[in-house]
């Protein structure tokens, strides 16, 4: 950018919301994935009009704009790969209203997901999407990445709850999509197109979310199995018997060992798989269902099944899952967290293939994930300063993507394509599929100013690069 352009932008923002110092530029150069890309200026908009003006300027000058929430993206979503302007949306957070009667929340994009959970629960309502980053991610980031968590199986992902948006288009127009009703078939469903578009098709400035009544009770069990195959059988059986758990979390042997090593809590370290299953509903239904699930797990050959009798025991069960993150850092400082997803029935096979990849590349690969919806999280623990190992990691990651697609699954169930997975998009959708997406992008953003360098691979970019 030219100096005069930066000066002109500065006239739109007071100094406490406009940063150009070296320390600030470096502070907006990263997200929770890889790489460091230095922007030229950071603006913190508070009003939709400010954004519209900046976007129009960017079109005039052909300068890239990168919207950013809390920068917890694991795929490089907000990274300013071509410099330009970072639009830090995190301070646009003044609206969080719950309309109890219509069961609707209206939120500014910078509101944290956990604050929506809390506000809804205070009035007996429920906003189900629960990415594990909820305490820190913005709802804007969640919308654009279509995030989800353990509750995805029963309650679906973020997109199921978005019924209306206010967006600034890539050319700077202010547009409303959808509305305040759950049913709405008026015109194209632009809301759905924008949700999950990773900030390529518009900047979200307000969202209307659908809420549901809060389930009254939860019941949780922890089961361990000799092998992922046994565990997979139990999962299929549970669903075949008409129980739809609110969460089914799976941990593999490497994960169990890591957790036990980090904080011994009596998990069987030779178990091939561990399953945490939770049902929600009424007191009576959860009591029934958890009993059912217990029997099913036992029939499927579980080594042990333990049902939580009270809140304390329930917390203890979930602790095993929450320990995974800190535990695996004992294995190395760098964690590459993938989210390849396969059809549910393919989980045992995917687990086996991951095991092979682990051995082939001699890496610390641990697997956990949301077994109910086939969304696994193979995590490679390494040290990014070890370039030799990082090369093997790159190959392993490529293998994971290819395996998921080969088994009829997808590159990403949660974290998005962003920068890291762009080279693989074509593998999943073919040239024609990717071209259709590109033509949508081009129609909406003819000057390619909004989040350029993401989703679609650059010339010559053929595989994941971490070094």
């Amino acid at each position: 950018m030219e100096n005069w352009q930066i000066e002109q932008l500065h006239t739109l923002f007071p100094s406490e919301r406009f940063f150009t110092s070296t320390a600030d530029l470096y502070s907006y150069s990263f997200d929770a994935s890889f790489g460091e890309y230095i922007p030229e200026v950071i603006c913190q908009p508070l009003h939709v009009e400010e954004i519209s003006t900046v976007v129009k300027k960017a079109n005039e000058w052909k300068v890239p704009i990168y919207p950013r929430g809390s920068a917890t993206s694991l795929s490089g979503g907000p990274l300013p790969v071509k410099g330009g302007i970072v639009l830090d949306m995190s301070q646009m957070k003044d609206t969080l209203t719950i309309d109890q009667e219509n069961m609707i929340a209206t939120v500014s994009p910078g509101v944290l997901t956990a604050d929506i959970h809390r506000a809804a629960e205070e009035v007996g309502l429920f906003y189900p999407p629960d990415p594990s980053s909820a305490l820190i991610s913005t709802i804007g980031g969640n919308l654009l990445e279509n995030s989800s968590g353990p509750k995805g199986l029963k309650y679906g992902t973020t997109k199921e709850y978005v019924i209306g948006l206010e967006v600034v288009t890539p050319t700077g127009e202010i547009v409303k999509t959808g509305g305040k009703t759950v049913k709405n078939v008026t015109g194209f469903d632009l809301t759905r197109l924008i949700v999950g578009s990773e900030g390529l098709l518009g900047i979200v400035t307000e969202a209307t979310l659908r809420l549901i009544p809060k389930p009254q009770a939860q019941k949780t069990l922890l089961a361990t199995f000799h092998s992922p195959v046994d565990c997979g059988k139990a999962i299929t059986e549970v669903l075949r018997h008409g129980v739809l758990p609110a969460a089914m979390e799976l941990m593999d042997n490497a994960c169990i060992r890591a957790v036990e090593h980090f904080q011994p809590s009596g998990l069987p370290i030779d178990a091939g798989a561990l399953l945490i299953l939770e049902v929600d509903g009424t007191d009576v239904s959860t009591e029934n269902e958890i009993g059912h699930c217990q029997t099913i797990c036992e029939h499927a050959g579980a080594i042990s099944v333990q049902v939580a009798n009270n809140e304390e025991e329930r917390a203890a069960i979930w602790k095993a899952r929450k320990m995974v993150s800190p535990a695996v850092t004992e294995l190395g400082p760098t964690k590459i967290s993938e989210d390849a997803t396969v059809p549910r029935g393919k989980i045992p096979e995917m687990m086996e293939r991951l095991q092979e990849i682990r051995e082939r590349y001699q890496l610390n690969l641990v697997v956990f994930g949301h077994a109910g919806d086939g969304n696994l999280h193979p995590n490679i623990i390494t040290d990014k300063r070890n370039t030799e190992e990082m090369k093997r990691v790159e190959d392993a990651v490529s293998d994971i993507f290819e395996t998921a697609v080969e088994l009829g699954g997808t590159l990403s169930g949660e974290h998005g394509i962003g920068l890291l997975k762009a080279p693989y998009l074509e593998m999943e959708y073919g040239t024609a599929g990717v071209n259709l997406m590109k033509s949508i992008k081009h129609a909406w953003d003819p000057n390619h100013v909004l989040n350029p360098g993401k989703m679609f691979a650059e010339e010559g970019q053929t595989k994941v690069v971490l070094t």
């Binding site: 110092s21 600030d24 502070s27 929770a32 913190q44 920068a71 830090d88 820190i136 800190p326 850092t329």
Partner: protein, 436 residues
């Protein structure tokens, strides 16, 4: 622009590995008071860690780029408690401060007031006590000249001037409990303790210290106050003066080995945290020092822990209708003492304990942060006072002298001085047990 200055390589050596432990997940952001008040990534723990990393890689300049964001950190360490992967933030912070300080000195920059004052005043507890005496004189006689002579009060103005109004009354020097002799328990002895007086507390909160000793004796402790003890060194390591901090630590370890007791007791969350971390501070010393440090820290306790163990306290009268509590960050995040002070407050007859919203966020006293960054500190403080007001408490309790002064300032700024009083935990408990 890679730069291979000696300070860059020193920072690399001290903290680069630690910065690489950060996975940039951002979990620490909502817990950081400076991020909440300033709203920019360079004022967040994740931002600061990344800047230290960039400086260690020689990408940014230690003085020009790194010093300010680091200076604006409160050192409250709430980010450490929030971090899921245990990034050693304090170590990163202190390494950065050390290198920044050295670099400034080399560059021949006029040493800042803070460091002058630190080295010359806080290392010398006699001088500090004298300072306390002067504050006492100042308070009873109102002679401004005395303060001017000390040169302490007006150097920090206007921040100091603001704090001065909230200073507790300092007692006549003669009332200080004697050092170097056993002060026996009133009744049967249940434990023996050495009392750590702290330098600032000893100077300006000597009444609280005296009452701490009296409370301990009342609940059955034989108390010994080692003579040669000194400042804990917290202020020095927080300001990048690692060398002095190590010297002070060694002096204190020696002082408290003189008489063996069950516990070393302090009433200042900040000092206690620093005593707790002597082992870490002395990691580069020989194994004998490390062992002595480990034994020292193992005996270290906050006074609330001892008082809870000796509960119930012999209360003589009812307390105020409502009390609330602003914990000391270092008591919470370093010593991990969170329940004991609350348990004591819940025992007070006739008193309801009300938890204050966001009580775990720092009050921006942060050692001497409120003296060095007056405006930023006030912004954070005023935000906190909104939650304080909502508790409708008559008394707000603190467990560290810095927090006490800061919250009294907050009460004054919020115009609550008619309704609410800020007190040290010990002072309230002592009053209700009829200890003058």
């Amino acid at each position: 622009m890679t730069n291979t200055q000696p300070h860059t390589s020193k920072l690399h050596e001290l903290a680069y590995d630690a910065t690489n432990q950060c996975i940039q997940c951002g979990y620490c952001l909502p817990s950081c008071p400076t991020y909440i008040s300033m709203g920019q990534e360079s004022a967040s723990p994740r931002g600061r860690i990344n800047l230290v990393k960039a400086a260690a890689e020689g990408k940014i300049d230690v003085t020009k780029d790194l010093a300010e964001p680091i200076d604006l950190c409160l050192g409250c360490r709430a980010c450490e408690t929030a971090c899921p992967v245990n990034v050693p933030y304090a170590h990163i912070l202190e390494s950065a401060k050390e290198v920044i300080t050295e670099n400034e000195q080399e560059a021949g920059k006029t040493a800042k007031i803070k460091r002058l004052t630190l080295q010359h005043v806080f290392t010398n507890s006699n001088l500090m006590r004298m300072g306390g005496n002067f504050i006492w004189l100042y308070q009873v006689t109102g002679v401004q000249k005395v303060a001017a002579k000390m040169g302490l009060l007006d150097k920090f103005s206007p921040a100091m001037a603001a704090l001065e109004h909230v200073m507790p009354t300092v007692e006549r020097p003669g009332k200080r409990p004697t050092r170097g002799t056993w002060l026996r328990a009133y009744g049967t002895t249940t434990a023996t303790v050495s009392f750590f007086t702290g330098c600032i507390s000893d100077a300006v909160m000597n009444k609280t210290n005296r009452r701490s000793v009296e409370l301990l004796r009342t609940v059955g402790c034989d108390v010994y106050i080692p003579k040669t003890q000194n400042c804990c060194g917290a202020l020095h390591s927080h300001q990048g003066d690692h060398k002095t901090a190590v010297t002070l630590a060694k002096e204190n370890i020696e002082a408290f080995e003189e008489v063996q007791t069950d516990y070393i007791v302090n009433n200042a969350g900040g000092c206690g945290a620093s005593l707790q971390e002597y082992e870490h501070l002395l990691t580069n010393e020989d194994s004998n020092w490390q062992k002595r440090a480990r034994l020292f820290s193992a005996r270290n306790k906050d006074i609330s822990e001892i008082l809870v163990d000796c509960s119930p306290l012999p209360f003589k009268k009812n307390g105020p209708a409502v009390v609330t509590y602003q914990p000391s960050c270092h008591l919470t995040n370093v010593q991990k003492v969170t329940e004991a002070p609350r348990q004591l407050l819940k025992q007070i007859p006739g008193t309801q304990f009300v938890e204050m919203g966001q009580s775990d966020t720092c009050c921006a006293s942060g050692g001497i942060y409120n003296l060095l960054h007056h405006e930023e500190a006030n912004k954070i403080l005023d935000h906190k006072m909104d939650f304080a007001r909502a508790t409708k408490a008559q008394v707000m309790i603190m467990s560290n002298p810095g927090c006490l002064l800061q919250m009294r300032l907050g009460i004054k700024r919020a115009g609550l001085d008619e309704e609410m009083e800020g007190m040290h935990l010990v002072d309230l408990l002592a009053e209700l047990c009829d200890i003058p």
